[in-house]
């Protein structure tokens, strides 16, 4: 049994499985939802097997076709890859369940269901391929796979606003990936390899390398919607159908960020990154404040959640200035933890917003007034999930902020404290505003019955999001295996 698990390269199956399922769903549109659901059930199991296999085996890097690296493409099952695969499997599973309720297979919207599944499975496969890739050019291809699927999924809503948002997203993404690709080209031209590990060993602090780095980082920053390059995000994430919004905010934004983490800590450590780090930190800080303030002003729930994503992305970028020598681990783990926590919490929130839109006909926050009865449980889901966005314990967001503040204090960058704290308070304010409407005591006509697939999966995810901090130890330890930072054991534990 154990041998069976170790022998298989489960993390590779996690890319082949959704891609194959996507083709199957395309070929058999009437069975698409079943194919999607079975895949969504299998992938978390594969993720567990992949983690089990990784803890048992030594090697973390293999190459496609077993060709040696500068030539072959490195595929890695290191900690970062595994936790992202696992989180994607979990969130993806929940979103798939939700989508089953959201896109009815019968009725006049059935054609949307028929295209949703292959597109979503392609996106899933693309994400998984991206997380395990250890090759800069392969990362480009996987990123484009994810982007193209996202564009089509946004446009699936069909309205003109959705189409415009999709098209804008397409152009922005194209711009970002071409800038990234230009950087990759320059690196290949100089070092004749695009392998992350090899490049990390070879790179010298030349001006050309700095230029390549700037291009790649700029492209990825655009794709991960850091202020002031976030302008495309609220529309794109709002206009999409609810399961798609959840996927975009929870997973797709993280794709570009994961590449950034890999670049920063594995490819460019030899380069002088302090100035860029501070710039990213500054933009991240502005994003936290600006995104939160904008969220506070929104009249529509989905827009509020989307701006909250802008703010949360800001936190993610604090990793770069905070990662000094002695605080490297703190910042890196904080970033990874926040990614995971945000993925769970934000997906649950978008699903709630989608259900409200679906049943109440609009996602205006004022429509929540007197939300009781069937959507009472949604308010609860929203509250629990919001805990991780605000950073309340015991959510993952809380510990991520803990690590950030710790890194800021230890590295003497105390000016990030007020930023992180005011972000927390502002988040509480915009969440409280929603809850205020939801708790408002007005009698309203009853809501239609909500399909249970749209009610319970988000609840499960929101509970996981809220309690994530309590179970974060294992994921964090996993992420640290093969990580570019070492575990920050400051003090020995007691008996």
């Amino acid at each position: 049994m154990t041998e069976l698990i170790v022998q298989q390269q489960w993390f590779l199956w996690m890319t082949l499985l959704p891609l194959g399922a996507a083709v199957a769903a395309f070929l058999a549109p009437r069975q698409a939802h079943w194919i999607g659901l079975v895949t969504a059930l299998l992938l978390p199991l594969c993720a567990l097997a992949a983690i089990a296999a990784a803890t048992l085996s030594e090697t973390q890097t293999i190459t496609a076709g077993n060709w040696p690296t500068p030539l072959g493409i490195a595929l890695r099952s290191d900690g970062l890859a595994l936790v992202m695969l696992a989180v994607t499997a979990l969130v993806g599973f929940i979103i798939s369940c939700y989508a089953l309720g959201y896109f009815p297979v019968r009725g006049h919207h059935q054609s949307r269901a028929r295209y949703f599944w292959p597109l979503w499975l392609f996106l899933w496969g693309g994400c998984n391929a991206l997380f395990i890739s250890g090759d800069l050019f392969n990362l480009y291809v996987t990123l484009e796979l994810v982007t193209l699927a996202s564009v089509a999924l946004i446009a699936l809503e069909g309205g003109k606003a959705a189409l415009a948002a999709a098209l804008r997203y397409l152009f922005i993404s194209l711009l970002g990936s071409l800038a990234y690709l230009l950087g990759v080209g320059i690196l290949y031209g100089t070092y004749a390899t695009v392998d992350i590990i090899l490049l990390g060993d070879m790179l010298a602090a030349t001006r050309l390398n700095h230029a390549a780095m700037s291009l790649m980082i700029a492209g990825l920053v655009l794709k991960s919607a850091l202020f002031p390059l976030h302008f495309w995000l609220p529309q794109a994430h709002t206009m999409a159908p609810a399961p798609v919004s959840a996927v975009l905010s929870a997973l797709v934004v993280k794709c570009a960020y994961v590449i950034l983490l890999r670049l920063w800590f594995e490819v460019f450590p030899a380069l002088d990154t302090i100035a860029i780090g501070h710039l990213l930190g500054l933009l991240g800080s502005i994003a936290i404040i600006w995104g939160s303030l904008m969220a506070l002003r929104q009249e529509r729930l989905k827009l509020l959640i989307a701006y909250s994503t802008v703010a949360q992305i800001g936190y993610l970028f604090l990793v770069f200035p905070l990662a000094h020598t002695e605080t490297m681990a703190s910042a890196w783990i904080g970033g990874v933890l926040l990614m995971m926590a945000h993925a769970c919490g934000k997906a649950a929130m978008f699903m709630v917003a989608g259900t409200i839109h679906h049943t109440a006909g609009s996602d205006r926050i004022s429509r929540l007034a007197g939300a009781g009865g069937p959507i009472g449980v949604l308010v609860v889901v929203f509250t629990l999930a919001a805990g991780t966005i605000i950073g309340l314990p015991p959510s993952g967001g809380f510990f991520a902020k803990w690590l950030f503040i710790n890194a800021a204090l230890v590295s003497g960058q105390w000016w990030y404290l007020p930023i992180i704290l005011s972000g927390t308070l502002l988040a509480a304010a915009y969440i409280a505003r929603v809850l205020g409407w939801a708790f408002l005591d007005v009698k309203r006509s009853s809501y239609p019955v909500i399909p249970w697939m749209m009610k319970w999966p988000p609840l499960v995810l929101s509970i996981i999001a809220l309690l994530f901090g309590l179970i974060a130890y294992e994921p964090v330890q996993l992420a640290l295996s093969g990580a570019p930072v070492s575990s920050p054991v400051l003090v020995e534990f007691g008996p």
């Binding site: 590779l12 194959g20 083709v23 496609a64 059935q110 597109l119 089509a152």
Partner: protein, 328 residues
């Protein structure tokens, strides 16, 4: 040598000028035509850089299919530059970001890059040595094909996925509409098509076979075939309705599916993704190239047609408007 340099200079200046002109041109139709010319000249540049594979692909895909896509799109959009509706109010930051980017960042980055590149020119030996050493066991005799179909086959697999994904995206957006009005077919065109189609198929086959030892391969061949399909559509060929369902989808997906199956099989048998058994490498690559060509041809043609075939799931439509590509 000097003469070659002068030729390069002229070519590059023309390319840059064309790019500038077509992007600045006030007539969008002219811009598209100039773009096709740009693509053809670019193919020349690839030849000059010793990359005939890219040159072939650029001519067939970059200029040919992209050109067709643009022209069809233009026809559907209407060629007038038509700005309707109020301007969106841009926030201060949005207004600021464009000039900052254009005025400061682009020139400075370009300048730095150029300066630096002049210092670092030809710093590394590249990988052709490694590729040449391993060519014997790769199952093919042409370096680029070996990289595409074997050394970096994982990229190629995913890229086939992107192609299929693009088609699914297009199908999710719109239903197929005719590329032209029925009565527009001219007899001369039909005659020309009768003459050209067999030649195109032969050329495509040749390019595919060529890929084993010289520039060529599935992309280029598929692009030529898809041009043939489009020509057939232009002279009024329609795919029979009963072929527009599963058969068409199978044809579109076969390239990617077989690639995936090979990947799964190699993973099961050897623990390494896409590690072909030595004795089978040549045949496997041939198989992959063949199915890829068929799929690429169908996919590219279907992308130009630009929509999903009418089917029983969506609202019933007029049969006569159901035109779709997909013949091999």
């Amino acid at each position: 040598m000097e003469l070659a340099l002068i030729f390069d200079l002229i070519l590059l200046i023309t390319l840059i000028a064309l790019a500038w002109l077509l992007l600045a041109s006030s007539d969008i139709f002219r811009a598209v035509v100039l773009f096709i010319a740009f693509g053809l000249l670019l193919a020349l540049a690839w030849v000059r850089l010793g990359a005939p594979d890219v040159a072939l692909a650029e001519a067939a895909i970059g200029a040919g299919i992209t050109g067709a896509l643009l022209l069809v799109g233009l026809g559907r959009l209407g060629s007038a530059e038509h700005y309707r509706g109020t301007r969106t109010r841009l926030t201060f930051l949005q207004r600021l970001s464009a000039p900052v980017l254009i005025g400061v960042m682009i020139p400075s980055i370009s300048l730095i890059l150029l300066l630096e590149l002049s210092l670092h020119a030809s710093a590394t030996p590249g990988q052709q040595g490694l590729v040449n050493v391993l060519l014997d066991v790769s199952g093919t005799n042409h370096g680029v094909t070996a990289v595409l179909m074997n050394f970096r086959a994982w990229d190629t697999l995913l890229e086939k996925g992107v192609l299929l994904l693009a088609l699914i995206s297009i199908w999710s957006l719109d239903q197929a509409r005719p590329l032209f009005r029925q009565n527009d077919i001219s007899p001369q065109l039909t005659g020309l098509a009768r003459l050209l189609l067999p030649i195109m198929i032969i050329v495509a086959g040749f390019v595919l076979w060529q890929g084993d030892h010289a520039p060529g391969g599935a992309f280029q061949s598929g692009a030529i075939l898809s041009a043939g399909i489009l020509l057939a559509i232009l002279v009024g060929y329609t795919l029979p309705t009963r072929r527009q369902g599963l058969s068409l989808r199978l044809l579109l997906a076969v390239g990617f599916s077989v690639f995936l199956l090979v990947a799964a099989a190699t993973l099961l048998s050897s623990d390494y993704l896409l590690k072909y058994p030595d004795s089978l490498a040549g045949s496997l690559i041939l198989l992959l190239e063949l199915v890829a060509t068929a799929s690429i041809a169908a996919l590219l043609a279907a992308a130009v047609v630009g929509g999903h075939p009418p089917d029983d799931l969506s609202k019933p439509v007029d049969r006569s408007s159901a035109v779709n590509g997909g013949q091999t």
